[in-house]
Structures are given as C-alpha cells and as structure tokens.
C-alpha cells in the first residue's frame, strides 16, 4: 500500500509539471488554433536563463521571478516577430514555423551553454517531506508552486477585466473586436503567459531531469498527452489531464510488468492515440463543430 501511495504522490508531483506544460499548450492553442511544438524548448531556454542568472550570483527566487518576467517578454516577442505574420498562413506553414523555432532554440541553447548535463538547484531541498518517506520536499514544492500558479490563473481569468477580455478574444474573436478588444494583443499576451508558465515547469523539473538542451523533450510529450486527454479546448481539462498522466505514468511503470522506465514514454503516446480514437474532444473539451 505504501508503494502505491508513494507512486501516486510522485505521480502528482510530476503531473503538476505536465499540467503546466499542458496549460501552456492549451493557452496558445486557444488563441491561434495551433499546437506549439516549441513549447518545451522555450521552457528549456527559460530554465537555462534562470541557471545563468544564478551563476551570476542572483539568489534562487530572484532568478525565478526575473526568469518569469523575461520569459513573458520573450513569448510576446516570438509571437510578434514570427507568428503574427503567419496568422493567416496555412496550417503547414505554421507547423514549419513551430519546428523552426524548436530547432533554433535548441541549437542556440546548445551553442551558448553546450550540451553537457548540468546540476540544477532546488530551493526546497530533497529531504523527506514532513518526515514522511512518501514524498520529498522538492516534490511537495513542485505541487505547491503549481497550485499557487493555478489559483493565480483562475483568479486572473475569472475575476479581472483583462482575463475576461482574453477569454473573449479566444472564444469569439470577431465579437471581441466588436466590443473594442484588441484581439491581436490578447494573442501576444497569451504567448507571454504560456512562455512564463512553461518556464515555471522547466525550473521545477530541472532538478529532477537535470539541465541540458533536450531536457524538455519527454516532458513536452507528456504535456501533449495531458492536453489531449483533458481536451485541447479546456484549460481546466488540461490541468486535470496533467495530474492523471503523471499518476498513470508512475503506476504503469511500477505495476505493469515489463514497462519500467524505458517504456513509460510509449505509454504516453499510446494514451494520446487511445484518447483521440475514443473521445477526440478529450475528457473536458467540447467537440469542434463546423457548419458547412
């Protein structure tokens, strides 16, 4: 039983990271109807930036907050320079744009910081949490920070004018313009927020997967799985999907014989395929109906 509880809690901890990635993906998907394949690389780059800041002597939380701000600005710059001009381009052009962004960020990170694996600090420590052997303080910290983030986002989107405007721009862009909302800037803001959320995921997972340019590859696929499971049209679903994928991954790795660590990733992919076949809109998404 203790093994089970342990695996579920560990699953919730990594699930928190998947939830963040899924949320970042959904945020951009809602705004521009495309999946940002480079979301993971953006998060990786942000994590390197925070690491560099710490190397320069900035304390952890200072570097954390500064990275959030820089990532937010970076997300907006990427949207303005690359994806705003592509707004009316065909899907494949956008896909090419995302892949290019992926490759560019990955190589630039390798060029600046090289591809050797680096240690990344955790502000929470890695001792047992509250004396319990079930979960480490870093895992508890991952869950805690994610929860704070989710609450902040909920309050922002539910109770602020800007949040309302962003939701409106994502749901019915034409009507949003007709009430005077600058939808183009709302998309840019969405990119900024997605980049910032991704940077949190990167900084929290880095002590676990270690810092290197390919660190987010697997995480992003789990993020995709989470977003697809929860429904690409539902931020709430994406978060739930993240936690479910985290738990599922850990339990499958522990209890299904022969899966182990090596086959965890294919399981995430199998999950994506299964969900797409059985319930294409995901658990909480609404089916997209197009009038002909």
């Amino acid at each position: 039983m203790e093994l089970f509880t342990n695996q579920v809690l560990a699953g919730i901890a990594t699930g928190a990271i998947y939830a963040c990635m899924a949320l970042a993906l959904v945020m951009i998907y809602q705004a521009i109807d495309h999946l940002n394949f480079a979301q993971g690389e953006m998060a990786m780059f942000s994590t390197f930036v925070s690491w560099q800041l710490m190397q320069w002597g900035v304390p952890y939380w200072g570097a954390f907050l500064l990275t959030l701000a820089l990532s937010f600005a970076g997300g907006i710059v990427i949207e303005r320079l690359l994806f705003k001009p592509l707004a009316k381009a065909p899907i494949l052009t956008n896909v090419a744009g995302f892949i290019a962004l992926f490759a560019i960020i990955n190589s630039v990170a390798g060029l600046i910081w090289d591809f050797t694996i680096k240690q990344y600090p955790t502000p929470f420590g890695s001792s047992p949490f509250l004396g319990s052997q079930l979960i480490s303080t870093h895992q508890a910290g991952m869950i805690g920070v994610t929860m704070l983030l989710l609450i902040a986002l909920y309050v922002f989107f539910r109770f602020t004018r800007m949040g309302l405007a962003m939701r409106a721009a994502a749901s019915v862009p034409e009507s949003a313009r007709l009430v005077g909302i600058n939808t183009s800037w709302m998309i840019a803001l969405g990119w900024g927020m997605a980049a910032a959320i991704g940077s949190i995921a990167g900084m929290l997972i880095a002590p676990v997967v270690f810092l290197e340019p390919n660190m987010m590859g697997g995480v992003l696929i789990y993020g995709f799985a989470a977003a697809v499971l929860g429904g690409l049209t539902s931020p709430f679903g994406a978060v739930i999907g993240g936690f479910l994928v985290g738990i599922f991954e850990n339990l499958a790795g522990t209890y299904i014989p022969g899966v182990g660590n090596e086959l965890k990733l294919p399981i995430a992919l199998a999950l994506i395929v299964t969900v797409l076949v059985v319930k294409p809109a995901g658990l909480f998404g609404r089916p997209i109906v197009k009038r002909v």
């Binding site: 749901s171 034409e174 007709l178 005077g180 600058n182």
Partner: protein
C-alpha cells in the same frame, strides 16, 4: 441637424468580387435610419464596411472625423456599437459576462454596474438568466443580449444587422419597442438593416433602399412606405 455619419463613394470587396458600388448616404444625429434591400443587395456589407471588417474604399466620416485606417476595435471605441448578424454571442460565457464585455473599453466601474442594472430593466428576461451560459439562451433572448451588450458601450451610434432574424413576431415587436425607447431616451442614433421592411419603417425616421450595392431611393420613412415600388417589392401589398 448635423450628420453623425457621412458615407461617400463607398466601395467594398470580397476578394475580387465588388459588393458595394459607390454608396452614398448619411445619418442624422439622433435619428433612426433603415437600410432596405433584398438578399445580397449589400446591406450587411455596408455595416461591415463602417466597422472596417471588409476591404473597402471611399470616405466614411463619423462626427466629422474619417474612419479610414482605423481598426475595428478602434472604431468601436469611438462609440459605434455593432450588433452583427447571428448576434455574435459569447456562448461559453454567462449572460452577465457578456454584458461586462460590452463595456470592456470603459473605465468607470460604477457606471458599468449601474448600466448592467439598467439593461436588466430594459430586458427583464436577462436578469432571470444572468448566471446562465449565454449559449443556452433562446434565439430571442440572445438577440436581446446582443442589443444589451451593444448598449453597454454607451454608444453614440448603434448598427443593427437584421435584429428580427429568426424571432417570433411578438418578440420582434418587443425588441423594436425597446429600440425606439433607447433612441428617444438615450439619444442613440440607430442604423438598422432589415428584411422586415414594414417593422423597420415604423421605427425609422429615414430610409434608404439599396439594390446591388447602390442606393436607389431615399426619403423619410413615410415617403418610402407609401412608394408604389417599395410597397410591391418589400412590403408585399
């Protein structure tokens, strides 16, 4: 009286297809004007051109200032509210959120709250449904919501695109009564595009008839209503 909106040589295009061929008309401050015409005559296009939602050339002046080169959202911010065809409801949001969105450009929180109350007085059915998802409202209720949302801007000019479309006759009567009241009490200038010519002419002071992208007739609502051709083509008697 001065013209609030002045349109000269307005041409509009959908891709290569020209939909408006040099439209000219003006709206008097405080008036209700209706654009009549058959399907495909260019009524909706005219409204969309005013809000820069379709490629167009020509001069559109609002209160003496040209609108050309302004984005849709900037035109709206000048006080031009557009109730689009199909109502443009934010279906996944609540009724109250839809009303708040109508006032999203306004900074006066207190005024917005009291205006929402005013809308609930105009449209009591919206008050009953304030927390409900707007997509679950009936067609008539959504049309009321669309008009209320537009009014939340405190517009100087309101553009209505076929507000009667798909509504039961009794509901349409109610809606037009409220539009008349809004025009008198709040001094909102109204431009309404309608298929239901009879109803539109009852509400309007002035009417234009539009055919294949051109104004072919203009006059007071009474003149137009009594015109032989209009009676035959649009009023059906």
């Amino acid at each position: 009286m001065t013209a609030l909106l002045n349109i000269k040589a307005l041409k509009a295009y959908y891709g290569q297809v020209q939909a408006l061929h040099g439209l000219e008309f003006s709206l008097r401050q405080g008036s209700v004007t209706t654009l009549l015409g058959a399907n495909g005559a260019g009524k909706t296009t005219t409204l969309r051109a005013i809000c820069n939602m379709v490629r167009s050339t020509g001069a559109i002046e609002f209160d003496g200032a040209p609108l050309s080169g302004r984005s849709t959202e900037n035109i709206v911010r000048l006080g031009i509210a557009h109730v689009p065809q199909g109502r443009g409801t934010f279906t996944s949001m609540t009724v109250e959120e839809n009303l708040q969105l109508g006032a999203i450009t306004r900074g006066d929180k207190v005024g917005v709250v009291s205006d929402i109350e005013r809308m609930y007085e105009h449209f009591p059915v919206l008050k009953q449904r304030y927390g409900q998802q707007a997509g679950t409202l009936s067609g008539g209720e959504q049309q009321m919501l669309a008009v209320a949302r537009a009014l939340m801007l405190r517009p100087r000019l309101m553009l209505l695109d076929e507000p009667s479309f798909g509504l039961a006759p009794l509901i349409v009567r109610d809606l037009f009564k409220i539009l008349g009241k809004i025009n008198r009490e709040d001094k909102v200038t109204i431009l309404v595009v309608e298929q239901n010519a009879q109803l539109a002419l009852e509400l309007a002071d002035h009417a234009y008839v539009i055919e294949t992208g051109r104004i072919v007739m203009s006059g007071t609502a009474d003149e137009i209503a009594n015109n032989e051709d209009v009676r035959k083509s649009y009023l059906g008697y």
